[in-house]
């Protein structure tokens, strides 16, 4: 039984976001990329299942630029067996539905029983693609997974929702699952591990290999993103210091009531 883990290189969470001059995308050349942090929980979960004897192979798959190969290597260094890069050259800005169509085709060719990914990518914060892949393939999905137990042909899955509530599911495999932060603690990669990972199998495919024409997909984009702007700057606030604490607290509470009118 095989797991396929869908991953996405995203800008480092600590990075300042650099934009291209047309403000339609991230400037890849000047931004450091990492594995989307939620995807690391997905990889870790697949590796744990393999170590428990419930899986025989863990395959990574991503739709990205070949320049992000090092990010994929990091996932291989965690312990994944091999990787598939779907090269996005010429169709970098596909919308979610089109990316999902490509990834679904790659998943189908591998016929895994478990398809994992991070609950969302931290760049566009969409939480679209994984669920869309499930829909394209006609499979059930559970996203924001905090606990996973695989028992033969079924899995028991917990999902975190609002108010700290947890939905508990039983689902038949194959299934698409989106990993949340509290699912596990991803392992660290070592430098020797990374050296070794560079020798692991990493196939590069084009959309054409999966039966799609990238340019045609691009022309069918229905979601358009443009004019990225920084959030509006706030004028400086009133910060009190050096006075008796009780007076400062009193002032702020009164301002909240009389000026801000929020209490």
């Amino acid at each position: 039984m095989k797991a396929l883990v869908l991953i996405k290189p995203t800008p480092d969470t600590e990075a300042k976001i650099m934009l291209t001059s047309d403000r339609k995308a991230i400037d890849h050349a000047s931004t450091k990329f990492i594995i989307n942090p939620y995807d690391e929980f997905a990889i870790e979960e697949a590796l744990k299942l393999k170590e428990a004897g419930k899986l025989t192979e863990v395959v990574l798959c991503t739709f990205t630029s070949q320049t992000n190969k090092e990010v994929v290597v990091k996932g291989l260094a965690m312990g994944a067996d091999r990787a598939i890069i779907i090269d996005n050259q010429g169709c970098e800005s596909l919308d979610s539905a089109n990316v999902a169509r490509l990834l679904a085709a790659a998943v189908k060719a591998e016929s895994p029983q478990i398809i994992l990914g991070g609950k969302q990518a931290i760049d566009d914060d969409n939480m679209h693609v994984l669920t869309m892949v499930a829909e394209v393939l006609g499979l059930p999905h559970v996203n924001v997974v905090t606990k996973l137990e695989v028992n033969g042909e079924t899995a028991k899955v917990e999902r975190e929702v609002e108010g700290g509530q947890t939905e508990v599911y039983e689902v038949k495999l194959p299934v698409v699952l989106g990993a949340h932060k509290s699912l596990n603690s991803p392992r660290y990669t070592s430098l020797p591990g990374i050296m070794k990972a560079r020798k692991k199998q990493c196939d590069v495919k084009t959309p054409a290999d999966l039966g799609f024409d990238g340019a045609v997909l691009l022309a069918k984009n229905k979601a358009k993103f443009q004019n990225f702007q920084p959030p509006a700057e706030k004028p400086p606030g009133k910060v009190f210091k050096g006075e008796p604490l009780e007076d400062m607290v009193d002032k702020v509470v009164k301002l909240l009531r009389n000026e801000a009118k929020v209490i």
Binding site: V142, N143, E162, K222, K224, P236, I263
Partner: protein
């Protein structure tokens, strides 16, 4: 333009964000005949009357015992049925755990696309445009749905942004949906309640958050005590969660919750970029920190440089005084 809103309920109670979606649908539709809502659940038919008066003439209701607990496969079927019956140009939901789980499936099912977590949404001459925070609020993008060629567009909106408007006491007609729930690959066993009965962070009007300098899980009680006085929900920074002082469900920031309250009180939080990303759109921000150089002060409307362990109980006492006088 015909607009359909998903009105969310949990445990038989309508969520305030559902009324936000319904009000927005009515506003964008321009007239009540072109706006509709959809309610999904078990024993929810009674809730339909609560949805009248928001400017939508029709409420679709999928009321079956099998829909009592949220199940994405069955709920997607119900929403699909409502869309087929109403034939909307646009479907709106809240960017909540349910809304975000359902809409990607529906967008694919109708060969369409989805814009998620918008903070602005407009419709003019059939064009659907909006604004979407990306990179956890480090940038905001102009977004648009194009080339829909008659297919419904899908949008989820951030809670607490769009106003609830109830123009009248109008009535809404109810149309029952019959949903095929035969797909048994996914079964919802139960929904376990969380430790807190408080409003979820993403819908809370007031949030008091603590950072690592609170020092222990036990010390979060001083935040809780103050929160109880003003009906606030308690949050935490990533540093506090990583230190084990609070569960991840309480985390505010890029890898936690994105929140939008009217008042956010940050206690002992330095203001790392990933925390600011999750709370910078709060309407009013108060920072209390002993370090006057803390970046949190740069986005605070009001700040106090001082000891949180002394300031928070003092603040609680002042709030009590203030609210007590009102009673």
């Amino acid at each position: 333009m015909k607009v359909l809103a998903l009105i969310e309920q949990r445990h038989g109670k309508l969520r305030s964000s559902g009324f936000e979606a319904l009000s927005l649908a009515a506003k964008l539709a321009g007239n009540s005949a072109d706006a509709a809502g959809v309610l999904i659940g078990s024993n929810v038919s009674g809730l339909a009357t609560e949805c009248a008066g928001y400017g939508a003439d029709k409420i679709y209701v999928a009321d079956q015992p099998e829909l009592g607990l949220y199940n994405v496969l069955h709920y997607a079927k119900a929403l699909e049925q409502a869309i087929k019956n109403f034939q909307p140009d646009l479907v709106i939901a809240t960017s909540s755990p349910i809304g975000r789980d359902l809409l990607p499936r529906l967008a694919i099912r109708f060969d369409s696309e989805l814009l998620t977590d918008l903070v602005a949404l407009e419709v003019s001459n059939g064009k659907i445009t909006g604004k979407k925070p990306m990179f956890a609020g480090k940038t905001i993008a102009d977004v648009e749905l194009v080339e829909l060629s008659g297919k419904p567009g899908f949008v989820s909106v951030r809670p607490n942004i769009f106003a609830i408007e109830k123009p009248g006491n109008g009535t809404a007609s109810v149309e029952k949906l019959t949903v095929d729930v035969s797909d048994n690959r996914l079964k919802t066993i139960e929904i376990r309640k969380g430790a807190s009965e408080k409003a979820d962070l993403t819908e809370a009007q007031i949030i008091i958050s603590g950072g690592r300098s609170l020092g222990s899980a036990d010390n979060f009680k001083i935040l809780q005590s103050c929160a109880d006085v003003i009906g606030a929900t308690v949050g935490a920074s990533r540093a506090a969660v990583d230190a084990g002082f609070a569960p991840h469900s309480m985390q505010v920031g890029q890898t936690g919750k994105t929140v939008n309250p009217s008042l956010y009180i940050a206690c002992g939080i330095s203001g790392a970029i990933q925390h600011l990303a999750g709370m910078r759109t709060s309407k009013v921000i108060v920072a209390i920190n002993s370090d006057e150089e803390a970046p949190i002060f740069s986005i605070a409307d009001y700040g106090i440089v001082g000891d949180i362990f002394k300031a928070i109980p003092l603040m609680e006492a002042k709030f009590k005084e203030l609210l007590g006088h009102d009673a």
